[in-house]
Amino acid sequence: MQAVFVLWLAATLAFAAMQLTPGDPAQALLAASGATPREVAERRAKLGLDDPLSLQYARYLGDLARGDLGRSWLHSRPVSRMILEQLPSTFELALAGAAIGLGIGVGLGSLAAVRRSTWVDTVATTLAVLGLSTPTYWSGLLAILLFSLRLRWLPATGGGSLRHLVLPSLVLGFALSGSIARLVRARVVEVLGEPFVTAARARGLSSQRVLFVHVLRASLAPALTVAALQFGFLLGGAVVTESVFARRGLGTLAVEAILWQDLPVVRGVVVSGALAYVLVNLAADLVQAWLDPRLREELA
């Protein structure tokens, strides 16, 4: 229910925002070709821009519910199709980035917690705050400089192959790992102090078993929820990373659309971003329920 409300509000805000945008889109579209005022008026009518606002809004929501995001003003193609075309590339990047970010983040975070107040902790927390602070558009350029231009190991730009995915996903993953590592560290430190850990140790379980089976599991469930909240960051990071490595994807689509004032496309990307965010968080809730025995019983 909350998810539906969030989506509705996101869609409505996107609609309102686009209404507030100054300038006449029909005018903007036809300006280059030197159209007459009459042609502009005809285009306005065709785009439905002269209809009352309530009608435009109702039409927009109805279309949205059917998965119709309208047509691009620039390319006059369905926005949903343009988004679907770019989705695999961005999805691939986001997924690889998330996997790397979670891997590094959980590893660094739990290592720092277990070896707390030692040099390992210092190194791990320093790496985490570096990940948090380094702009992907800078680390990306450094990576291109080192691995593509100097060492010539990997291609600098473009997409389509696994080799093209390595640098962008590493850059994105490193940026994501910072916040995850900090979170996991705090959570593991907390769990290490819980009575059930002492109990497990008292039963004679080995340190490794306690850490991997009991502590990490108890730490990961809430960490996952916050990692899912980081999905928004991941999406934004993917946008910038695509631009750095000149990859096609939703990010490049959105940037072009903003520069050309192609509002249906901007709106489409924003609404589908919100949809993806809601779905990911829903999935995270389910996984958390599966990881946490208390919640699992509640659901069953």
């Binding site: 909350q2 409300f5 969030v6 509000l9 996101a10 805000l13 996107a14 925002a17 686009m18 507030l20 945008t21 100054p22 707390r116 107040s117 705050v129 948090l132 602070s133 380094t134 702009p135 558009y137 800078w138 350029l141 450094l142 291109i144 400089l145 231009l149 430190v189 290490l192 102090g193 850990v197 002492t198 140790r201 340190s207 306690v210 909240l229 999905f231 928004g232 960051f233 991941l234 999406l235 934004g236 990071g237 946008v239 910038v240 631009s243 750095v244 959105a254 940037v255 659309a257 903003i258 520069l259 004032q261 509002l263 901007v266 709106r267 990307v269 924003v270 971003g273 919100a274 965010y277």
Partner: protein, 277 residues
Amino acid sequence: MIEWAAPTRRPFLRQPVALTALAWLALIALGAWLAPLLAPADPQAADPVRALLPPGPGGVLGADFLGRDVLARLLWGGRWTLEMGALAVAVAVGLGLPVGLAAGSLGGRTDAALMRLVDALLAFPGLLLAMAAVAVLGTGLVSVAAAVGLAAASPYARLTRSAAVEVRGQPYVEAARTVGCSAWRIALRYVLPNAAPSLIAFAATQLGWVLLNGAALNFLGLGAPPGTPEWGAMLAAGRGYLRDAPWASVFPGLALALTVLAANLVGDGLQEAMRPQ
């Protein structure tokens, strides 16, 4: 495994890392403020002879593809970056604080309605929300700051609310209510001063986020007009000459990364200084 001591509180002035970070922020601010005096050259003056000049006697940080001095542009760029960052944090606080305070102090239906709105705003991925806002507001310093500030407002509202709710349960607030203080008086007189430290610490952390994303908009070409000395835009402009003149991109990126890092470290330090014992 459980003998570790609880995290201790350390006064801000006794944290060397946080103090160094604060000094760096002050240095950047000073450099930006005194840019007209300090800059070795006009940041906009193109000089074909100096194009792609490496760092050295001709220019400490070299020159970009148009022969513009990188150090001069870096100093002037700090101005743009810090003004944008300060303005954006002001927007985030200006929007988030009243909403969070109202929700946390009034409770009930107002709380539920406001927080629903905040949650929905949170559901927009931050940078995407800022990009959408730029699409509406147009490009330039003020709209980038407004866009990024808007995107940063909802976490601020959430934090303010939870701080307000926490303070609201305290006995002295109960007492104030009993003697007939209005909700607004309690919010401003008791809740706000008590929540202020954590709100300030969070604002410092948010400065880092805001700088990162403001520069990202500029990097994407959605911010300052072309040619403006701004760190993100400089990074993007130098990208085409990465092989021959990496300094034109590397130095603005380094300045930005260090500044964001400093903001994060100051935020961490403030949080550590206020950790409950």
